[in-house]
């Protein structure tokens, strides 16, 4: 939560490594061609290791991320205070003040179309979000530890006023 810039850094590193590796493979020894059979012998050996590495990274990454899933069934929220949020073109109806350091669950729904309930922290980073859907209630467990004004923006296209659909609350 609020890790957008961390993701950006990871992305830059991964992209730089990938581009450098691909350029290296394409350009290294380019002026000294080899028969395809020679390249294949080495390539297929590397591919087996590469396959193993990719699969291990995929499975380990999945296992590492599961504890951080934001879902109500994945997060302890017993005894939490429930906060009703109703979205409608183009506003959010919700309390103006919320307590800090108290487990909360936002019960989010919509009166008309799909909306996104995106909470931006006082420092401007995207802190948490959940969809606001008609006919359904999404439960978003959350606990605020930083006091201040949180801005709420719509994060699902909902019509011509989408860009102007925002609200907010104070955490005290």
């Amino acid at each position: 939560m609020g890790d957008g810039l961390l993701v950006l850094r990871i992305f830059f590193v991964v992209a730089a490594i990938a581009i450098a590796a691909m350029l290296f493979v394409a350009l290294y020894g380019a002026k000294k061609p080899l028969p395809q059979s020679v390249v294949n012998d080495a390539g297929y050996r590397i591919r087996k290791l590469w396959l193993g590495l990719v699969l291990v990274v995929a499975v380990v990454a999945f296992a590492l991320t599961v504890p951080f899933f934001p879902y109500p069934w994945a997060q302890a929220s017993v005894g939490a205070r429930h906060i009703e949020v109703t979205a409608a073109q183009y506003a959010f109806v919700m309390p103006a003040v919320l307590p800090a350091d108290v487990p909360l669950v936002f019960d989010v729904t919509s009166q008309d179309v799909n909306h996104g309930f995106g909470i931006y922290a006082p420092d401007g980073t995207l802190f948490a979000q959940v969809q606001a859907m008609p006919d359904y209630i999404n439960h978003l467990p959350i606990e605020f530890h930083v006091k201040g004004h949180y801005v709420v923006r719509c994060l699902e296209f909902c019509g011509i006023g989408h860009a102007y659909m925002h609200g907010g609350f104070d955490v005290r």
Binding site: A15, A58, T65, P72, Y120, V130, M133, H139, L140, G159
Partner: protein, 477 residues
């Protein structure tokens, strides 16, 4: 060849027009040109569906040609499908230009029926236009799949099951596994029919609601089908174009790309993961069945395996120390593989649920799919066009032209995409006619990058025409 060029030229023409629309949209977000909110969303609707359709039409032209080389396909079916595409495109344009439709192409029910500012007929026209495009797409998929099944003797053979599970007997009988491009065609056509069916199903439900508002649709059901269709359709444009790698890179490198058991198994993976990875579009729908959220993340990860371990890895093995000449055609294919990997990496990060909380419906989303489409699918199509033209003209482009095209499309493209990524990581929402800071600043950078892309595309167009005319004048091919 006639079908292939008809489809590719039509696709690239739509691409060029939509590129201009896209530049206008980013310039508007930068505050450089005034576009009112209603017009912005109408143009965004047109840009989105237009670009995807453009890539699909061009990719299908390439795929149809590759299949037709091995199994004869009836041109009349391809032209009938083209008529569906043309009708769909015209109806969609009418809906936007004259009806001012503006609810985008992956609209989530109850959109586009609630809070609209355009007449009801425009909504109906949009739905019918997109349905016509889908019918054209499914017709081509059905034609390709039918021809492959007839010629191979069944789905098992078409997917290489007998080859993988009984290789010795298979080879002893003198049989050959399906070629890589035929595997791509089989997978694209099967997944295309599944994705198209999802799109038609939710589309018919919406048309029924349009005709009779008493028809009620479940919003979560509609959202699942809309994304199953939208994600699959967009994703498959890549796999249509990828088929070109298997044929064009061997021409560029003077090496062979053979089918192998890893390649066949990799395409089985693609067959499955393309149709279930869409669950990552519903990560923020907490009422969604819990199991599919887990499936969404792991299937999004595993979808990368066939790409990085087989196709791109195999492509790099072809290029490595082959003595390949860097023509525009080979450059586009190589750069396309880079774009595919970079865009795919961004997609995987976004498909990681704890990160998705920070990125869902921010500009990170268009960042990754613009990388994938502009620096991946589009480059593979251009690569195919230029390898074909270079072969026929027996000529290549000058270093100056390659630098102009490269700096425009790759350099400008990098600038254009960087702005999306940085603004997305900062939490700037997507689909905002007026963005909060730092969106407008990065929209300005994006506009400059996109203008450079336009320069590169125009230079490629002029060079393509030059090569085509050389063939007409001097070649005997």
């Amino acid at each position: 060849m006639k079908i292939m060029w008809t489809y590719i030229v039509a696709g690239l023409t739509i691409f060029g027009l939509m590129l201009l629309v896209g530049i206008g949209l980013r310039a508007s977000q930068a505050g450089w040109i005034p576009i009112d909110t209603g017009t912005f969303y109408s143009l965004l609707s047109l840009h989105g569906v237009g670009m995807i359709t453009a890539m699909a039409i061009a990719g299908l032209g390439l795929l149809w040609y590759l299949v037709d080389r091995e199994i004869h396909l009836d041109e009349r079916v391809a032209m009938l499908a083209f008529a569906f595409f043309a009708i769909g495109v015209v109806v969609v344009i009418v809906s936007v230009v004259f009806g001012h439709y503006g609810a985008l192409w992956t609209m989530l029910y109850p959109l586009p029926f609630v809070g609209t500012t355009w007449p009801s007929w425009a909504t109906g026209a949009w739905l019918l236009g997109v349905a016509a495009v889908m019918l054209g797409f499914m017709l081509i998929c059905a034609q390709i799949l039918g021809a492959i099944l007839r010629s191979s003797g069944g789905l098992g053979s078409a997917l290489g099951l007998d080859y993988v599970f009984g290789r010795k007997a298979f080879e002893a009988a003198g049989k050959h596994p399906p070629s890589p491009q035929m595997l791509a065609a089989t997978v694209v056509s099967i997944d295309g029919l599944i994705g198209g069916a999802s799109g038609l199903l939710v589309g018919i439900a919406m048309i029924a609601h349009w005709l009779d508002p008493h028809v009620v649709i479940d919003p979560l059901w509609a959202k699942n089908l809309t994304y199953q269709f939208g994600h699959t359709f967009a994703n498959l444009t890549m796999y249509m174009a990828v088929a070109g790698i298997y044929v064009a890179l061997p021409i560029c490198t003077k090496r062979a790309y053979h089918s192998s058991i890893p390649l066949v198994v990799a395409w089985w993976g693609t067959l499955v993961f393309v149709i279930i990875a869409y669950f990552h579009h519903l990560y923020m729908d907490f009422v969604q069945w819990p199991a599919v959220q887990y499936i969404g993340e792991i299937s999004s990860y595993l979808a990368a395996v066939p790409v990085v371990v087989v196709t791109v890895f195999g492509g790099l093995m072809l290029i490595h120390r082959s003595g390949m000449k860097w023509t525009l055609g080979s450059m586009f294919f190589f750069a396309g593989m880079i774009g595919w990997i970079v865009g795919g990496s961004a997609a995987i990060l976004d498909a990681t649920i704890p990160f998705n909380v920070d990125l869902h419906n921010t500009l990170w989303v268009p960042a990754h799919f613009h990388t994938y489409l502009l620096e991946g699918v589009f480059l593979f199509i251009l690569g195919w066009v230029f390898v074909s033209l270079e072969q026929r003209a027996e000529a290549a482009s000058s270093a100056l032209v390659r630098w102009i095209v490269g700096l425009g499309i790759f350099g400008g493209g990098a600038l254009f995409l960087l702005s999306f990524y940085v603004a997305g990581a900062a939490g700037v929402p997507r689909r905002y006619a007026v963005e909060p800071a730092p969106g407008p600043f990065w929209a300005g950078i994006a506009t400059v990058g996109a203008l450079l892309v336009l320069v590169g595309v125009l230079a490629a167009l002029v060079e393509g025409i030059r090569l085509a005319r050389m063939r007409a004048v001097g070649s005997t091919v």
